[in-house]
Symmetry: C2
Subunit: 209 residues, 2 copies
């Protein structure tokens, strides 16, 4: 059965910001206690043996919270992750679905109206939309969308969408009001002194809408 | 059924040296006409959509010559490649075999006696051993082994082995004499003016032993 999809607060783990594998597991556990609803492992600089190790550790630590693997479907299959997230230059959604079967979540990164129009709605479970604001945590990010354009994209969307890119406290309510089903964050939790409290504050702001 | 294993002349394609996807396909076709027995796609800088595209083009062009995918088992599964090659920091051989099943070739990179002793012989089909000589085509290569140490490793091996690292014309016969079942080359074919002739010359030198 496919895991429930709750995009409310989606943590994308970054090993550089989170203190490597151990730091990522500790951060993820604290953040889930603070209200994070999904966790993605994203470590583009890592070799895959480390991906597998971290993914197994995260899966064991996260319990029922879905663990999503960025890009590497082989790793996701090996650790029986809850799902996979692919970008526009990664394995195409149709092929990704072919590999993961019908019971795993599939997310797709989108950055503009053309991307949104091309999403195969029967194959993809949710889209990431961004970067809404400028971000330093993804080196190959697309051009910044901005809040006004993001709101337009949300009106056009036909699938659950999580906002991503430069999101922190003070920006969540506006994104939810614009139609986002949730927000994805990296540095707003990873590397914060108290990840649990940081997650709680982000959840609270999202709940205000 | 598992493809036949003939390591005699193993071409590792490098998109930088071969002129991208198109150049790699043209090079591989010419090299196979010159006697290359296996072809590996290795493009660590590429995103996976390009991997899939190149792998499909190579598979269509190569006919019965086995196409091996470096590192990315998801790509290998998608294109139904003949096999997968993993390094010491990639997905572990036992896990790789679990993903690819019993009918695909599995290669493993090794660099020293400890690596050789740890090879799971019932799981791996062949090993790469190197770098035997200094190479500029793999940035994260292990320390150079040298011919004398390579010969020792060949005496200890219990599985087919292909020599790799800095191999070109004039070095093949000594490596075969030392016990290599074949040689793997990158720049000795990729980027050569006449890849077919380059492959022929390498095959001829190997056949002298």
């Amino acid at each position: 059965m496919k895991p429930d999809l709750d995009l409310s607060l989606y943590l994308v783990l970054d090993p550089d910001l989170c203190g490597g594998e151990e730091g990522m597991v500790a951060t993820a556990v604290a953040a889930v206690a603070g209200g994070v609803t999904m966790v993605q492992l994203r470590a583009p600089k890592w070799k895959k043996r480390q991906w597998v190790s971290a993914a197994l550790a995260l899966k064991a630590a996260l319990g029922p919270i879905p663990l999503i693997i960025n890009d590497h479907i082989d790793v996701a299959l090996l650790v029986d992750a809850a799902g996979v997230h692919v970008g526009q230059q990664d394995i195409a959604p149709e092929m990704a679905r072919q590999l993961i079967g019908p019971h795993k979540l599939l997310g797709l990164s989108t950055s503009n109206a053309a991307h949104l129009a091309a999403v195969p709605l029967d194959i993809v479970d949710y889209i990431g939309v961004g970067p809404v604001f400028a971000t330093g945590t993804k080196l190959d990010a697309s051009p910044v969308i901005g809040l006004a354009e993001f709101a337009k994209l949300m009106q056009a969307k036909a699938i659950p969408a999580v906002a991503i890119g430069g999101i922190g406290l003070g920006r969540v309510a506006a994104l939810r009001a614009a139609g986002a089903d949730g927000v994805a964050v990296v540095s707003a939790i990873c590397g914060q002194a108290d990840p649990q409290q940081a997650a709680q504050a982000l959840r609270l702001e999202g709940a205000d809408v």
